[in-house]
Amino acid sequence: MAPTVALAGNPNSGKTTLFNELTGSRQHVGNYPGVTVEKKEGTYVREGFRLHIVDLPGTYSLTAYSLEEVVARDFLVNKKPEVVINIVDASNLERNLYLAIQFLEMGIPICIALNMMDVAKKRGIKIDAKKLASLLGVPVIPTVARTGQGKKELMHSAAQMMHADHELAPLKISYGTDIDQALSKMEAEIKADNFLTDTYQARWIALKYMENDEQILSKGKKVNPELASRLEEAVRSVSHHLLSTLDTYPEAMIADQRYGYIKSILKRGVIYHKYDQNRLHSSDRIDKVVTNRFLGPLIMLAVIAGLYHFTFTYSKVPVGWLESFFGWLGSALSTVLPEGLLQSLIVSGIIDGVGGVLGFVPLIMFMFFGIAILEDSGYLARVAFMLDRVFRIFGLHGSSVMAFIVSGGIAGGCAVPGVMATRTLKSPRERLATLLTVPFMNCGAKLPVFALLIATFFAQYEAAIMFLITIGAWAGALLVAKLLRITVIKGESTPFVMELPPYRMPTFKGLAIHTWERTWQYVKKAGTIILGLSIVLWAMMTFPGLPDSKVLEFEKLRQTEIKRVPAMVAQQLEFAGENAELSDSAQNLKARLQRIDAAEAEAGLKSSIAGRIGGALEGVSRWAGFDWRTNIALVGGFAAKEVVVSTLGTAYSLGEVDTEETGSLSETLAKDPNWSPLTAIGLIVFTMFYSPCFVSVICISRESGSWKWGVFAMAFNTALAFGLAVLIFQIGSAFGLLVK
């Protein structure tokens, strides 16, 4: 197997750009086992030598606080890559070396890529790479990842390190007398007992005890509880001493000394600043406008509206192509396959199901492309900066806004890309609360339901009601997020502190790779599960079907109709092509036969499993004013919310109802004594809040890393929606509001 090279570095240091530059299209994305952190791997090939390249998650440090840090550290320790390339942002050298120092403390062989040399130069920063290399004792290669400059030299030097085959002695920094003395004592004890030393260096273990590292502490307790408690005791006594004499903690002291060490290295002629370090650069001047108190929010509204428009308007064309392709495939197979269960399974179950999944693909591609532009350019961090104050109230994060907007915060989005958009959020609790509440937004598939009900019962208030629905969705989502954050996902908010990276022009290569890999992941993972579930849902709406006696009855009815007209008319209808002109009497017959077909479809649906569930639920759903027909439609809506209107049509014996033309269904509802404006409001609210469609549920499960949350979303949302619908219906009925 090819030797492994790991890429490590701070976020925004150009790590991913370098990875793309090294591996090109020879890369794939997976997950680290058991966690949702992305694992990117690829192959570097040049002149016959191959290297396996792993892009570690971007981190600022090697503590055990964030999942990314634990993943990066475990990979380095367990997989022991031959070389670690540490990408360091030359324009931000001091802070970036903080991570490099921690690699050296671990005794990990690193090769430093001094990246973004062009940016550093523009900012009047001069760096003596050779001097830095000799002071740190590791190779330092200047690079510009965007142009590929220095790539060859970097890989050459990495390859040399691989062959050198010498153990790198861990870097020893002085952390002050108190800590140093304690560390030496602890190190000796650790060595004597071989405490965790087959995995880690003894001094590093002692250092992590001093830093209160949760992962090492819990490992230590398991292996040797007696020594572990002695080490903890040693740390406690140093802590106590430091707190009383210097008013500081060991971990703070250690960090101070690391920065001090970095400063002392840089001071020895490594770096030369032409200007004041904290002077404003062009990027900061952009920020003066873009995050301005008045202009900032306006620009943000425009950008968000632009992203929305881009995602949902431009993806319409390819979505249309896919829809017509699957439509064509369905009708083509309908003519080839004999009528019956197999045809129904393939056309209504498999093709409609898979077509439904693939129909999302252009949407997801456009959304990820748009978000990648905002993310890579640095604007997304500004959005989080500007909106954090609002979202924090509800236990969320400034970055949550993108997911809400994409899901339908502006009516007409889609929760599937919305759930996936939460990936830009790095705070675990805030992220979970966001991805559980984005399905409350009004996605495009809920709109036909609203349109139908509004047209039927509130025709003159259309705009006002749509506005209320949008506001209601936001209010509901934010309040539920707050509720979740103080109950099931409670816990302090994750520290917000983050970098506002300088604005950068995104590279097309980066955007394309980013978009492609995420879209492909969706197709691969969601596709297989959804195919299975589509078949199950199809079966629920089809089986057990009408008993033969019933089918015969409908057939008899049809025959009677045909016999009532002259044989010539029936023949004309039978042999007429699809678009042929029919005589009046033939048209009349056709309409009557269609009515019988529709009645049969209604009877079939009622006797299906879904229909029986709908009927059985009627006892409960009465509380909210829903009859069995509505129930079936809502059960169908779990497959995809688009189905609600068409299923309602079948249940009212109207045959197939086109979601674009619901005139006859609207008339039927208006006349039906079961329906009133109050029922309509109840159903609108229920549709807004009940279980996400199953594609969303699968995405929620995948993104949260557990099926538990997918099931939670189905159960909790449905309970919430039902509660609200019952409340509306009962209060409304009691006061006689909005009834017929």
Partner: protein, 76 residues
């Protein structure tokens, strides 16, 4: 004069005097380069006056006001 970072005005510069917080937040602040002795300058605030953005070691960081509360800054 020592003041709390929350009370600094835009464009004001100073040197971090102390950071009194342990646990996750303390560590995150240190990882981002906020340690005593570091020079900072307030770059600006979000439209709702929170979070705050500051220049440090040539980079821009942002933190919430309630996180800035733990940071004491020595100013002119």
């Amino acid at each position: 004069m020592r003041i709390n970072m929350r009370n600094m005005h835009d464009n004001q510069a100073g040197t971090i005097a102390s950071i009194k917080v342990s646990g996750e937040l303390g560590r995150r602040l240190r990882d981002m380069g906020l340690v005593p002795g570091t020079e900072i300058r307030i770059q600006g605030r979000a439209p709702l006056y929170d979070p705050v953005a500051l220049r440090i070691r040539g980079a821009t960081l942002t933190l919430r006001n309630n996180e800035a509360d733990y940071i004491e800054v020595e100013v002119e």
